[in-house]
Each structure stands twice: as structure tokens, then as C-alpha cells.
């Protein structure tokens, strides 16, 4: 890991007007929601924050031509990629910590009781989802250009949920053309189970149990695997001179 790259990634975020504005809005929303008795709702918005920050990993640098300059320096490609991901994840984790503080302050002002276990569990879930999203975007960015990584990510999410929904409906069909598909799905339940397993691994919901170690392990394991794959592809990628 290169501390210089991590520090530069953090500096880029902290000096960005969009990041600061988003942070202020998130603090305000988390404090307000906590005060009105709907805490933890703003954590859902962190996913969008992670997509916006994560989509800038590698792809745009490749297309703009800045990556060629960076790779002319004596820094290993994988070190650069991992450090960039760590920098982006840390920048968003800072936002989560500030939101957590906003949530607690909002509850203190409103005089609502603080359930620390629940509040910490929600922040942890959010932090791990950010880690996975950023690693997946780094993986998708390792072989694509510009902001295509976020397009693939969102496309896959929509496609998987659509296919799962359609197959779920087809499973009940007993007659007509769909009847054959329904019979196949009923005879082979592992098809739907596999599809759900893929969806749950790539785009997981929160755990049913707070601090569920298996869920935490799944998130860290998938993030680590995505980052390793990103390093494998990125280290072999041709980076020609000039921008797209």
C-alpha cells in the first residue's frame, strides 16, 4: 500500500466542493431524521455516495490519459489500485462516522433514547456495504473505460433482480409456454437458489441479526476477492499513451 496515494485520494475528496456539500447535507438529514424518530434512514443514501465516489476509480483516469503518467512512476500497479480503493473507502467512512455523530446528536437534542447496539450495527452495515461497492467498482473499472464501471454495476443489479422476479413468477406457471419453464424451475430449485445467492453476494441486503459474523465475513471476503481480481486484470492491462 502507498500512503502517498491514499493521502492524495483523501485530499481530493476533502478538497472537493461536492464532497463537502454532500457531507453537510448528510449530517443535516441524519440529525433531523434521528430527531423525528426515524434514525438510520440516511445510511441508505451512503450507497449513492459510494457509487459516485467509487465510479472514479481507474476508468476515468484511463480515458483522460492521466493513468499513463501515473504508471510511468515506479509504483506497482496493484499498489496504486489498492491504495486508491483504500483512500476512497476511507473518505466515505469519514462521512459515515460524521453521520453517526449527527444521528446521536439529533437524538440527544430531541431527547429520544439511544440504542447504541442498533446505531453501531447500522453504521457497520453501511461501512461494509461501501467497502464492497468500491471494490466491485474497482474490479469493473479494471477492464473498462470512463464511467462504464458504474453502468455495468447498476445494469447487473437491475438485470439480476428482474430475472429473479420473472423466474419467481414463472415458477408458479402450470400451463402454456411458461408451464414448461415453471416445471423446470420447480424440478430444479437450485436454479433460483443460485441466482439469489449471486444477487445476495454482489448486492447484499443488511444482515438479519446485528453484528452477524457470517454476514461480515461475506462482505469482507467478497470485497477482498473483487479487489484481488481487479489487481490481476489491471496488472495485465495495456495502457496506451494518450486519452480516448
Amino acid at each position: 500500500m502507498s500512503l502517498v496515494v491514499v493521502a492524495e485520494a483523501l485530499r481530493r475528496h476533502f478538497a472537493h466542493l461536492g464532497y463537502i456539500s454532500a457531507l453537510l447535507i448528510l449530517i443535516l438529514i441524519s440529525a433531523t431524521m434521528a430527531a423525528v424518530g426515524a434514525p438510520q434512514t440516511p445510511y441508505e443514501m451512503i450507497g449513492l455516495f459510494a457509487l459516485i465516489a467509487g465510479c472514479q476509480l481507474i476508468g476515468p483516469e484511463f480515458s483522460k490519459g492521466t493513468l499513463q503518467l501515473i504508471l510511468s512512476k515506479p509504483v506497482a500497479r496493484s499498489t496504486y489500485l489498492v491504495s486508491r480503493v483504500i483512500g476512497v473507502v476511507l473518505a466515505i467512512w469519514v462521512a459515515i462516522i460524521i453521520m453517526f455523530a449527527g444521528d446521536i446528536v439529533g437524538r440527544l437534542i430531541a431527547g429520544t433514547p439511544i440504542n447504541w447496539r442498533s446505531a453501531l450495527a447500522a453504521a457497520l452495515v453501511s461501512a461494509l456495504k461501501v467497502l464492497l461497492v468500491c471494490c466491485l467498482l474497482a474490479f469493473l473499472g479494471s477492464f473498462s473505460r470512463s464511467y462504464v464501471n458504474v453502468g455495468i454495476y447498476l445494469g447487473a443489479q437491475i438485470l439480476l433482480s428482474m430475472v429473479a422476479g420473472m423466474l419467481g413468477m414463472m415458477k408458479n406457471a402450470v400451463s402454456g409456454e411458461m408451464g414448461a419453464i415453471g416445471a423446470f424451475l420447480r424440478a430444479n430449485p437450485e436454479v433460483l437458489r443460485a441466482l439469489n445467492a449471486i444477487t445476495n453476494n454482489l448486492f447484499p441486503d443488511g444482515p438479519a441479526i446485528p453484528f452477524d459474523r457470517n454476514w461480515i465475513l461475506m462482505m469482507v471476503c467478497n470485497a477482498s476477492a473483487a479487489l484481488l481480481l481487479a489487481c490481476v486484470i489491471f496488472s495485465r492491462r495495456e495502457v496506451p499513451y494518450g486519452a480516448d
Binding site: V36, G168, K171, A208, I209, C231, V232
Partner: protein, 161 residues
């Protein structure tokens, strides 16, 4: 000899060994951990099976509290943690209602068992969590969609009763 100008290209494309080892260890740990699933903290509400709810409500002259939820529903889990695992609220629910949990399995299994689907159709459930308070005759007394915090839920329980 590699210098800052002519550095080793092979080194530049090398994979970080620590990441390879970490990933392998995590995959192994995950496979092992699947054999030991984490048990949920049991909530404090006395849940009554769907089939016994109406008779129990008629016998005890208490309304039925249906909690419609799904395993994939995040707010449902928050509701369970903050309300059904809370001693004071759980006690209140047990005293005043016949509590019935109705879990939707459409996403996981493609369809629900008939008694679950029947209740969902009857009360027009379109989102989770939804709490329905009904009499022993099935008539709806109140209904709340979504979970907006412990205090509001506590107020809802008091209001309906």
C-alpha cells in the same frame, strides 16, 4: 539495475502477496463459518401461529397484531430489534394483543404458503413491514405501513388499544 527512470517492469505488475493470502484465508474462513450459523437473539414477544390466532383472540378478548415482514427487509429487522426485543414493549404487546408474525417468502421461494398469502391478500399487504391490528373476526382496527422508530411504534400500540 532498476532506477527511478528504468524500473523493473515485472515488479510493477506483481500482485500484492498479502492480498492473495488474505483472500484465500477469508474464503476458507467463510466456508468454515457456513457450518456455524449465528443464532438470532430470541425476541420477547409470544408469537402465536396463524392457524390459532382467531381462536386465541376470541377466547382472550384481545385483538390480533399481525406483523407482516420478510427476511430481506432491513426495516423489519430494525423493528424486531428495537420493539420485539425491548422488554417493556414486548411485555405490553403480550398483555394487550395476540401477536402473529407473517413472513413473506415470495422472493426466496417464488410463492407463499396458502395461509400466509390469504392474510396478505385479505389485508392488502404491498410493502414491509406492515402492522395490522384486527379483531378476532378479522376486521381491521388499524394499520401502519413501514417502521418509523421505536417511540412512534409505542404510541401506535397505545393508540389502538
Amino acid at each position: 539495475m532498476p532506477t527511478s527512470l528504468t524500473f523493473d517492469r515485472k515488479k510493477q505488475r506483481a500482485l500484492p502477496l498479502w492480498l492473495v493470502i488474505l483472500t484465500v484465508l477469508l474464503i476458507v474462513a467463510r466456508i468454515v463459518s457456513l457450518k456455524y450459523p449465528v443464532q438470532a437473539d430470541s425476541d420477547l414477544v409470544n408469537w402465536t401461529p396463524i392457524s390459532m390466532a382467531s381462536a386465541a383472540a376470541a377466547r382472550s378478548h384481545r385483538p390480533i397484531l399481525y406483523e407482516f415482514s420478510a427476511d430481506w427487509c432491513g426495516p423489519c429487522h430494525i423493528l424486531e430489534r428495537e420493539v420485539f426485543m425491548d422488554t417493556a414493549l414486548a411485555e405490553k404487546i403480550n398483555e394487550r394483543y395476540i401477536a402473529v408474525r407473517v413472513v413473506d417468502r415470495q422472493r426466496e421461494e417464488g410463492s407463499n404458503i396458502p395461509e400466509v398469502q390469504q392474510l396478505m391478500d385479505r389485508y392488502g399487504i404491498r410493502a414491509f413491514p406492515t402492522i395490522v391490528i384486527a379483531g378476532s373476526d378479522g376486521q381491521v382496527r388499524d394499520k401502519v405501513l413501514g417502521y418509523t422508530g421505536r417511540d412512534k411504534f409505542a404510541a401506535f400500540i397505545d393508540r389502538v388499544h
